[in-house]
Symmetry: D2
Subunit: 405 residues, 4 copies
């Protein structure tokens, strides 16, 4: 069919917008037609959406459907940010994509505090991606036989769950019971990938082993929300998901004064009243100022799943008196990051990972993703230092107004 003809049929509804690829030779053509159809239907121009640097042939079905073009988000750079991690070590320039004025500038200020103070020290203390199906038992009593079966047959279940993947490693299966609903939280090491799709496939296979053994027990949903994916949750705050990581720094009094224009006591006081008392009164899982801002900007720049900013925003900022300054730390219990798969392979995102020197898989699978979590946590630390500092010095509104946000 000719392009014009397809276009007409799309506009008239004879070809659905998701069917266009069936009638064109290239994805690119389909994208053009779809965009043109929207332009006609809505009588608008989509010039900017239609101009892009990506190769749409690589995207279709892997990253997007019904494509009409791209959204462009400005990318800025923060650095040098010194990170003393176990996987990321050195001075980094961190790409952040955002449309929130002052965010990059503010994080950059925090980065300069960290770098001047010797660099952020990071500690990854847990690492595991989870998927938790919910099974309906006949009676809560079945809990015993199912949980015993899982313990006795862990090796077989593990083998099934790891099929067709070199990297996915099942660590444990934790059972939770509510009435006759059995939730099984499968936790995996997923190497350099974020792992959500892999663990879904693996868990589906593993569940079949249980269903085969107990035909009277039914898997109601492959995700029973105890995973918990893309929703705030206490279970992730407590037990972690993805990387659980702390980044910390000792900031000397002189640097607090010179760079943040405030003092140790005020920083501590703001953090205590805002991030602890305020968040406690709010019933929040975010005992922090704005983890979400930095996490979102780095996730967007580097091709992470931006819906997972939800868990990434959970966590704690602690500011404590120390000899000659403050101890300042951020703890992110559920930071899910990847350097392979998903959006990380898209051209601009891959380049952003190149800036950090960690695009693609690492020699020892998992090291690149761990390095990314260390850089990310350090940048979050920078963001917290700068915002708590600004609130302490009371120039938040001033900063906003200057930058015209």
């Amino acid at each position: 069919m000719e392009k014009e003809e397809i276009l007409k049929k799309v506009i008239s509804g004879k070809i659905k917008i998701y069917q266009i690829e069936n009638f064109t030779e290239t994805t690119e053509e389909a994208v053009e037609i779809r965009r043109a159809a929207i332009e006609k239907i809505r009588n608008i121009s989509l010039n900017h959406i239609g101009k892009y640097s990506l190769n749409s042939e690589n995207l279709f079905g892997k990253n997007i459907e019904n494509m009409i073009g791209v959204v462009e988000v400005p990318m800025g750079i923060v650095g040098p940010l010194k990170v003393n991690g176990n996987y990321a070590n050195g001075n980094f320039y961190v790409p952040m994509a955002t449309s929130e004025g002052a965010l990059v500038a503010s994080t950059n200020r925090g980065a300069s505090v960290i770098t001047a103070s010797g660099g952020a020290i990071t500690t990854i203390f847990k690492n595991g991606m989870s998927r938790a199906p919910v099974l309906r038992l006949k009676s809560s009593r079945d809990y015993y036989k199912v949980s015993e079966f899982i313990v006795s047959n862990f090796d077989e279940i593990k083998k099934e769950s790891e099929k067709n993947s070199r990297f996915r490693k099942l660590q444990k299966i934790v059972p939770y019971l509510v009435g006759r609903n059995l939730f099984l939280r499968f936790v995996y090491d997923t190497g350099d990938s974020m792992g959500m799709n892999g663990v879904t496939i693996g868990t589906d296979a593993a569940i079949k082993v249980i269903e085969d053994k107990f035909p009277e027990i039914k898997c109601v949903s492959l995700s029973g929300n105890l995973c918990t994916d893309k929703k705030s949750s206490a279970i992730n705050l407590i037990e972690g998901r993805g990387k659980s990581i702390t980044a910390e720094i000792m900031i000397p009094d002189k640097i607090i004064k010179d760079k943040l224009k405030t003092d140790a006591d005020t920083l501590i006081d703001v953090n205590y009243r805002k991030n602890f008392i305020g968040s406690a009164q709010a019933g929040s899982y975010g005992f922090n100022a704005h983890f979400a801002n930095i996490v979102a900007a780095i996730f967007l720049a580097t091709g992470q799943d931006i819906a997972q900013v939800v868990e990434g925003s959970q966590g704690f900022t602690t500011v404590e008196k120390d000899e000659n300054g403050v101890y300042f730390a951020v703890t992110l219990p559920s930071l899910e990051v990847a350097t392979v798969g998903g959006g990380t392979r898209i051209e601009t995102q891959k380049e952003a990972l190149d800036i950090l020197g960690i695009s693609g898989g690492s020699k020892f699978s998992g090291d690149n993703a761990k390095a990314l979590s260390e850089i990310c946590a350090s940048a979050v630390l920078a963001g917290e230092i700068s915002l708590i500092g600004a609130l302490a010095a009371r120039h938040l509104t001033k900063a906003h107004m200057e930058y015209g946000r």
Copy 2:
């Protein structure tokens, strides 16, 4: 200075990366130099990041600092999605930007269920943007005099808080006390803007009235985390922030069978065990399947603040037996959206809003933002219908594998 010379000085550190704009005539030049510097320092190429359609002159200081280029995220389209809103009415094509394969296709399937069932009905039941400073009182007893002062002088405080803005309207100030910490939650109507910066400026001015009256009382932080911005919180789940909205649909049995390949009872069962029991056991504020995915993709496409996906993911999916089918609804208590300000003025984002017919300010300030919230909630409803349907029909992993996620 010559471009080459500036570049050298940036590389050698004599010019900081945030100072480049001081030495160039145009922002564009500064962006180029900064990108070139990173390329040299890291010995990489940033070809794709460097190619963009946006005019960087409009972005500097308003949306980004330290710019090196853009990230491109593929944009797809969902529709036609029929919305029977009070502000958005008709068939919409909804732009979604994402790198998560299958998301647009899946949401599109849900949209077709909605449209076939007569269109989503939406109800905005609250509307207010909040900012909550924390004040340190001398004694908790001061609560009486401050809260009385606020009641007696509400008009004056309101006037101060609305200065220099045609749109910002203070609705109320709600006090919360913890020890001698007084949190004042200011709630505003902010028209078509999301309002975060405006309410910060307005609240700063309002607080000064209180500080002038009571010099012994100190505003510790302009944000005391009871706002609550970009952090999960019970206070937003309960009291709302931005738009509080429900979108609902009655889906006839025939459509459930034809389009979702399942039945009413299974849909209800999956929703009950996953979204209620599972989320309850997880300690989650997201009693839903994946609000965050759809909210994130629309926010990204239309220039919203993507860190606010955190609150946007809070809320409830209810699926209930109805005559000849199911009643399916989503409730989003804290959906913060705008059609003016922030990222909405960037070229590709503005075009995405044009697709919806609601870019920029509306005749009656606020109507466009309300329309956007209705479309957004309806798309979230589509996303929930499709995913709950897929889980019910157990083809989640199959979908994942087909689309290669």
Copy 3:
């Protein structure tokens, strides 16, 4: 029927244990027979349960059914505890009933710190008992008409809700919407009574006004759990229930050293790490050490509803540096207390209230209950000071061992 004959029939099951009162002239006789029946059936002796000072005739149907006797719990006294309240003013001896060794002694130590430091200052900042029915609407859109009806007809609804009570005053009705479920949180002033039953009766009457107007709308449950009664909840933590109250004290360094054997910095540090960081990580609504212990012991002694210890345990302990010592405060947002009704009229409980000088109704209805909340909060403050002090001085286990708990 003769006593012996009734007893036989109870044992044989011909008379059910809840029917005995139908066959006896006095309650006392029924209690005896029931106890004798249990003794026979189980072949045990219930000598102690059977000896009591209460007049069972007053209890049947008001406080207990199927009575067999009483449980006795040892009552101790804490004091003098100086309270500088708006309703309770002076030195109090506070009755506490408990079987937890060391609890009274520990609270007494805290009381002596408070009294030596000049007395606790209390601030009641909210006062309202709530009941929240859930209504099923036809569509979420009905929200508009119902909420408008409530606003327009508030006076009539209020009148209905206050019928047959001199004391119950409806303050407000706050609507919450989830899907097509409308929760209406009715908040009342209930004078000196705790008010749970009164507000249930009042709300039932009020709901009928709404149901009469909208026959298509159904009240599914008179309590929709947004009240929230006897369950932990963020809504009570944030919006309060019963009395919301703070008690505070400035403790000079000398008293910290002499009485608590520790210092200001250590108290602050323990409170920060345990009551804020620890409770935050635990996902707790109790940002305190052991509110529940003191609340439970006073509730039990004075005839309160001990299941409401659940809400009473919610709240915050804040310890902050102050000139020459620490500022120490407790905030209890949902403390439900009464001096009339329920268990307060039982003989031993009434006497316990007499010790405080506030049994029965007050001249200005509500003053006695408010005074009780002030004394209770001050005793909670004492309990927190003592336990945080013990942890700071690391003699918790020592205290436990000495007292043989």
Copy 4:
């Protein structure tokens, strides 16, 4: 000293109220003097408080200090309640102490539904009492060495923690990190005792092993609130504390109709809208109607720690369609009960346990406490059935009014 002389000195303040035992030969005498002093000071009579059946000599220092007498709470009986447990098996008469009219009658109604339906089936799925100290590390990096030390030296730590106890068995130590705060959650089997004091002593000893090894690391507080004791918490909801138990029953339609005057669909609907949607919107950890009422009344009757009603009120009620009726279940993840120690040895409380046939230690340590948890959960199930039934049949207020609550 003569009694009269001591009394005078107590009244004048020369002898403190907690010192009286130092001047008398018997505890009884001290109790009398103390009570007399309060009567004089307050000019009241404490006749009822002063009449009791307990032997005060056994109580002093173990269960109470500063004793003046007792509080009496009426005790009723519920039964026969059929329990099909792994530890409690048969028809039970369950003692409940309360002053809330209608509670015993209502629970009794539920018990008759359960017994008529064949008896409650119970499943204990976790069992462990926890204590979680908080340690301050020098740096979050110390996490590695401390957690490795714990793994490598678990046997030695376990041995220390179990010293001087035949029953306390350390199961595991789970680490949590926030900044440089390390929380170690020690979980123990504590046999028939509730175990709070034992695990405090054991954990104190265990921590010393860690402190000896790492002198630079400081135990800030033996309880870091991740235990979590007597405060609502997600960690207990998710990971459990004490007994984690489910009690369930299939109720045939006929019994629903005859005894509860409603039907299956209405029961399910009330439970869904109130206990799930309502509690979700409230931000509650109690997805139930009134666990706390039944738990409190049994705890009070049988000498449990009533402040632990806080955790006992956490949990889920699930009501689901089943062939010919409903599946009705309660899940209590954190039910802490004992048959030895604490208040269980007091005369009336011991008799209450005798009614259940489980006072004191069991042959296989732990069996009695487990049996108590099974009975308790079954009674909670009875309470939920009755109240959900009453709400479904809309006679809640009627019941209240009849019983004059």
